[in-house]
């Protein structure tokens, strides 16, 4: 099992948060293992539909993290991201998803410790919530489960 | 029933060795037309040795009882003694922040503890009741002949996170009213230095050294008087000034007034009524009030 039953997806911008997560690693800051990071050029690239898709495919929590306001590598990418994601987080309940399962934060390249804390805090928030059960039926049911996916020992396999 | 008057907690010192503080405070308040209701059946807050029980039961229960009584009838309690103020704030902080302490205290008091009454020191209260502009109006530059230093000491500002009154490194809250008396209030470098606290009986040597330094700096700053809001500071600086001079082989003279005495003088209350004659080191009132009608 890779660190429990739940799976978390993180969409991180390359310049700040991904580098912050690197810094946490370089500083050997222990973190829970449920998080799977997807690297993007900018949080401005995060399409809200992508987040919803992740939930639909079976993510139990989604974290988006980018540069602090004013520090975006592309000047204003995180400004657009902020607007879109704020809207999205307010929509969560509409989709039948507990709002805590979605979070977005700003973490800079030098804030390794902050990244480690964020992952730990986020994981600890989701763990008690357990797996996400989408009323509309996500891809989690066994009949949807197809293809070789991630190796034979994948925890998803055993669910 | 909640009254618009202040609940007044004089504490032990103001009713024994520091009655001039009590009297002058009451006189000022009376002149301002404010009602004070002395807290009923108040007890000692344990200020002097209780620092060593800060984290302990007694440090909450003793002042807590006073808070509890005040809470029944008043929105705000004023404690002119800096030590009492400090202890009341501490008890309030503890009670507000910890459910368990609240429950245990209620058990001892045999009633649900009331702790939310606003706790004010004399500077806060007077600043609320008479603005510097109003005092300036009333005083008409009455004390323009003198230079006075604000002495805050320790208990009025520290610990800052609990008292939330003024900066512990650079307090300034006394200044506006002091300046409104017409007096010059130059920077007094030792305004936050400790006077030696309650060491008087047991280790006078430590105390006298500390107090001596404060008086010495007040003199070299060219002050005509220091002003304090703490009976313990006053005791150490005024009552013991002869002891200080004797121990250190000096002959310093520095009148030390209570904050209420100074404000009272500015308002035109007579020195006698403010019991200035109780001071060991007497200010030269003739010079102070020279030219004042």
């Amino acid at each position: 099992m890779s660190g429990g039953d739940i799976k978390l997806v993180g969409f991180l911008c390359n310049w700040c948060s991904y580098a912050g997560a690197d810094m946490a690693g370089t500083s050997r800051m222990a973190q829970p293992a449920e998080m799977r990071i997807v690297r993007l050029p900018c949080t401005g690239r995060v399409n809200p539909l992508l987040v919803l898709k992740a939930f639909q495919e079976g993510a139990d929590g989604v974290l988006v993290s980018g540069c602090h306001p004013g520090d975006c590598h592309y000047n204003e990418g995180n400004y657009y991201a902020h607007r879109r994601l704020e809207l999205l987080s307010r929509m969560m309940a509409v989709y039948g998803i507990e709002p805590e399962r979605f979070r977005y934060t700003w973490i800079s390249a030098s804030e390794g410790a902050r990244w480690a804390e964020t992952v730990t805090g986020f994981t600890e928030t989701i763990r008690p919530l357990g797996r996400l059960n989408l009323a509309g039926g996500g891809a989690r049911d066994d009949d949807h489960h197809q293809g070789p996916a991630a190796g034979s020992a994948s925890p998803a396999e055993k669910r | 029933m909640v009254s618009t008057a202040y609940s007044y907690y004089p504490g032990c010192s103001l009713t024994s060795s520091a009655t001039e503080y009590d009297i002058s405070f009451r006189k000022v308040v009376e002149a301002l037309g404010i009602q004070l209701d002395e807290l009923e059946d108040w007890n000692c807050c344990g200020a002097s040795p209780a620092p060593h029980h800060k984290a302990e039961t007694l440090g909450v229960l003793l002042p807590g009882r006073n808070l509890h009584i005040a809470g029944a009838s008043h929105d705000a309690i004023v404690a002119p003694c800096a030590g009492c103020y400090n202890r009341l704030k501490y008890a309030q902080y503890k009670l507000a922040g910890d459910q368990d302490i609240r429950e245990q205290t209620s058990e001892v008091f045999q009633a649900e503890v009331r702790y939310q009454t606003e706790v004010l020191n004399i500077v806060q209260m007077l600043n609320r009741e008479i603005t510097p502009e109003a005092l300036r109006e009333r005083s008409q530059g009455r004390l323009a002949n003198i230079r006075i230093g604000a002495y805050y000491g320790c208990l009025l500002t520290r610990p800052a996170d609990i008292l939330g009154f003024d900066s512990p490194r650079d307090p300034r809250k006394m200044r506006p009213l002091m300046e409104a008396t017409g007096a010059e209030v130059p920077h007094f470098p030792f305004k936050t230095e400790c006077c030696g606290s309650y060491m008087g009986l047991a280790r006078k040597d430590i105390l006298l050294k500390a107090s001596h330094r404060i008086i010495e700096v007040a003199v070299s700053t060219g002050l005509d008087a220091l002003v304090t809001a703490c009976p313990l500071c006053h005791q150490n600086l005024d009552l013991r000034q002869e002891q200080i001079n004797k121990a250190m082989g000096t002959s310093l003279r520095m009148p030390v007034l209570y904050f209420s005495q100074l404000i009272g003088l500015a308002m035109g209350i007579s020195p006698e009524e403010l019991e200035l004659d109780a001071l060991v080191v007497q200010p030269d009132m003739d010079r102070w009030l020279k030219g004042v009608a």
Binding site: G3, A33, K53, P148 | P189
Partner: protein, 652 residues
């Protein structure tokens, strides 16, 4: 599709917590993976050769490398791909070190996670198509912001290499803080003797254009092609005409604070900062001038023999193109007064800062090199230095070390003994930081030759007594409190980034820290680069530095600029946006969000108006892809499909 997966052990960095063999064998089970193996050090020469050999042997067309962060070695392996005959963008790096082995301790857990991550990488690379870089022409002119010793050094190095340089300084003269110093540690050579000739050289260099009283307002564009708005502020003096005779200054009736001399002495509303200023031109400060305050005067205009004074002068706005930018905005001293009421908070005239002392020591300074107490002009005999005032002090939010304080205190103690032989100096310190070549020896000189009394402890209080200052400190080594009756107290105040450095950084789009110091891209490997291509750092704008370090870094930045601009063209990243013209509905929502104005409107032959991406301007942020209502823009390397595949790979 033939994918190869290489799982790096990084010695034991990865292998100690991730079973790389198991990851490799799990990878073999993934669709289209035809080869997977574990390699000890993939980035090493033999490691790379193993990858290349496997690529040939298994006819790979796509590669996944599970190793360290792509921020570390992506370009390394892109080069490997090129050598293996595979398009460099058909390679995906998977981070199983920083994001896995280094943050987990359980082998089982870490291995499972690594397998997940590899499956994500494989899913993503399957959707990848070959990409090709294009080239853009490069502007060969260089902008340098800040004319301290760092900016001067960089300007001269670059100009000597034959590239045109514009040096923008916001003050009236170049020279920066070094111009205010007397002598410099560790050799005690005279600051202006080294600096002034270089300043003059800047002025006369054929490749350098000097713009003083100027500031950078806006920066657009990207590496090789920046477009910058520079505002040259009106100073009421025509730079071309002014001869520097200073007659105006002598006749001007309005006093003004003397910033160059750090408040030691006053100057006039119209003045020249110091006799060796470059350019040697007067400037008028309206906020102090009678003509502007009271509407009456005009003396300077009347007395100027060169007719240089022009009250109607207006700000000029210049827009210029540059290929590279060097930021050299330096530092300022921390304003200690608010933070240290227990040192008098600025109320005691004889408590001064180190830079004020420096001005007193300087023979060309306002006191003519005489050390004087500001209160009464007397020569002090007992002089106390306090280190770390506004440094290494968490209570005021400044834990950083000023880095030069310890050394310049030693210097000032030595110089004090030279100026006043019968003086005594005291130094309160916590640690003496003297880590350079010849530095410790220099600091020991202050003790041995200049007789400075070093006291290990911080000062708790300073107060005046009988015309002296009582300094109450502790000597923590003997465990007792000590007291000095001082004539003069000199504070080694902390070092701050120059005012406005943070907002300049925002305009340049480069990162900075909480003190406003600008951040380098990597402290060891890319110490003069920023994360924005084409923008470089030099000197104390990056963090406290002494002169040798400043100059070394300035030359390093110059070298980087010269390398960059030695090519006529730059390769651009192909990871940019692309519009599917067939399906574009012409709403231009994309154009509204693009920060680089990289989208333009184009008419098609069928009359439709559609969006097109200007390749040389697009930086690949992906903002437009999300803004596009019918989702017809894709970002190469991060297409919607790729991202969805990546996500679903791990969740299935």
């Amino acid at each position: 599709m033939r994918i190869g997966v290489f799982v790096c052990q990084c010695g034991t960095n990865i292998a100690a917590t991730v079973s790389t063999e198991r990851v490799a064998s799990a990878a073999m089970a993934l669709r289209d993976v035809v080869h997977a193996e574990s390699i000890q050090y993939t980035c090493s020469d033999p490691g790379q050769r193993t990858v290349i050999a496997a690529a040939h042997k298994y006819a790979l067309d796509r590669v996944v490398i599970a190793a360290c962060s792509p921020r570390m070695h992506e370009t390394t392996f892109q080069r490997t791909m090129a050598q293996a005959g595979i398009n460099p963008f058909m390679m995906e790096m998977v981070n199983i070190r920083e994001h896995c082995s280094w943050i987990h301790s359980d082998m089982e857990v870490a291995t499972e996670k690594a397998i997940d991550l590899v499956s994500m990488g494989v899913a993503k690379v399957r959707g990848q198509t070959p990409l090709f870089s294009s080239h853009v022409p490069v502007v060969s002119e260089v902008l340098i912001i800040g004319g301290g010793v760092a900016g001067i050094q960089a300007a001269l190095d670059i100009a000597d290499a034959g590239m045109p340089v514009t040096l923008v300084e916001r003050g009236p003269t170049i020279g920066g803080n070094m111009a205010r110093l007397d002598k410099t540690f560790p050799t005690l050579d005279c600051s202006s003797c080294i600096l002034t000739p270089r300043m003059v050289e800047v002025k006369h260099h054929e490749n350098i254009r000097l713009m003083v009283n100027s500031e950078v307002e806006q920066v657009r564009g990207y590496i090789g092609n920046f477009e910058v708005d520079i505002r040259k502020k009106a100073t009421c003096v025509d730079e071309e005409k002014c001869t520097g005779c200073q007659i105006c200054e002598q006749k001007c009736p309005s006093e003004a604070p003397d910033e160059f001399n750090a408040g030691v002495g006053e100057t006039k509303a119209i003045s020249i900062a110091f006799p060796q200023a470059v350019p040697l031109v007067a400037s008028l400060r309206k906020e102090y001038c009678r003509l502007y305050i009271k509407g009456k005067c005009g003396i300077c205009k009347k007395v100027c023999p060169a007719d240089a004074v022009d009250y109607e002068q207006e700000d000029e706005l210049h827009t210029e193109k540059f290929g590279a930018i060097v930021v050299a905005t330096g530092y300022e001293l921390f304003d200690w007064r608010q933070a240290y009421p227990h040192y008098g908070g600025g109320l005691y005239p004889d408590v001064i800062t180190s830079i004020q002392y420096e001005r007193m020591l300087s023979a060309s300074g306002p006191t003519g090199g005489h050390i004087q107490r500001p209160s009464d002009g007397a020569e002090p005999k007992e002089i106390v230095f306090l280190s770390c005032v506004g440094s290494r002090d968490e209570s005021i939010g400044r834990p950083l070390c000023c880095k030069v304080g310890c050394m310049y205190i030693a210097k000032q103690a030595i110089l004090t003994r030279e100026h006043i032989p019968d003086s005594r100096t005291y130094v309160f310190y916590m640690d003496v930081r003297a880590g350079g070549k010849g530095y410790d020896e220099f600091y020991r000189r202050a003790q041995k030759e200049a007789g400075a009394v070093y006291l290990r402890g911080r000062v708790g209080k300073i107060y005046p007594r009988g015309g002296k200052l009582v300094v109450m400190g502790a000597d923590t080594l003997v465990g007792e409190n000590v007291e000095v009756e001082a004539d003069l107290v000199v504070l080694a105040t902390g070092i701050d980034a120059a005012a406005g450095a943070g907002s300049l950084a925002q305009r340049l789009n480069i990162p900075y820290d909480q003190y406003g110091f600008l951040s380098e891209s990597h402290p060891k490997l890319r110490p003069v680069e920023t994360t924005t291509g084409g923008i470089f750092l030099a000197g104390a704008c990056q963090g406290p530095k002494d002169i040798p370090e400043t100059v070394a870094q300035a030359s390093a930045a110059a070298a980087k600029v010269i390398v960059l601009l030695s090519h006529d063209e730059l390769e651009t990243s192909p990871m940019i946006a692309e519009v599917n013209h067939m399906r574009c509905i012409g709403c231009f929502k994309c154009r509204e969000v693009c920060p680089y104005h990289a989208i333009e409107e184009q008419g098609l032959r069928d009359g439709r108006r559609v969006a097109v991406v200007i390749e040389s301007l697009c930086q690949g942020c992906g903002l437009c892809t999300v803004a596009c209502p019918p989702s017809v823009i894709s970002l190469r390397g991060y297409t919607d499909n790729q991202l969805i595949e990546e996500v679903t790979a791990v969740l299935r």
